[in-house]
Symmetry: C2
Subunit: 93 residues, 2 copies
């Protein structure tokens, strides 16, 4: 049985492939739907558009797993920074 | 209720803090226990030692969340590459 961490890593992989399909990369519509469904609380639509354009570095409308994971890393590290601030404030009370 | 993707990102954060504790970074023993418990199927002990030393860039025995997430990214991308090869082989059969 996988650990919680292994399960989390699997979830990120499988979620990418759910929206990428057999072709193995995300096109514009897949990226939009993925963010709408899977990360609704993270970003406003304008920020999503900006990030998605940056991820599509070759401007060929294809975002592979590695670029997608960079986005997830950025979001998770930003959330982690908020979490740390929140925990410090909580400890002070 | 968080999506599966949001839950996965939370799990990675909370797992880090479970082993980092209040100090907010992983020391050698915490890193070893985390890898043993949370990623038992990924790496042999020698590879873990090597990666852990690389992560501790300042050689002060402290690994923060951002460095830790780089390790998770590397592992997940490696797993993803294996997954893609496996899926291609499966489709050919």
């Amino acid at each position: 049985m996988p650990s919680q961490m292994e399960h989390a890593m699997e979830t990120i992989m499988f979620t990418f492939h759910k929206y990428a399909g057999d072709k193995g990369y995300l096109v514009k519509e897949g990226r939009r739907v993925l963010m709408d469904k899977e990360c609704p609380g993270f970003l406003d639509p304008l920020a999503v558009d900006k990030i998605m354009k940056d991820l599509d570095q070759c401007q060929d409308d294809k975002v592979g797993f590695q670029s997608f994971f960079s986005l997830m890393a950025g979001l998770t590290i930003a959330c982690h920074d908020c979490f740390v601030v929140h925990m410090k404030q909580k400890r002070r009370k």
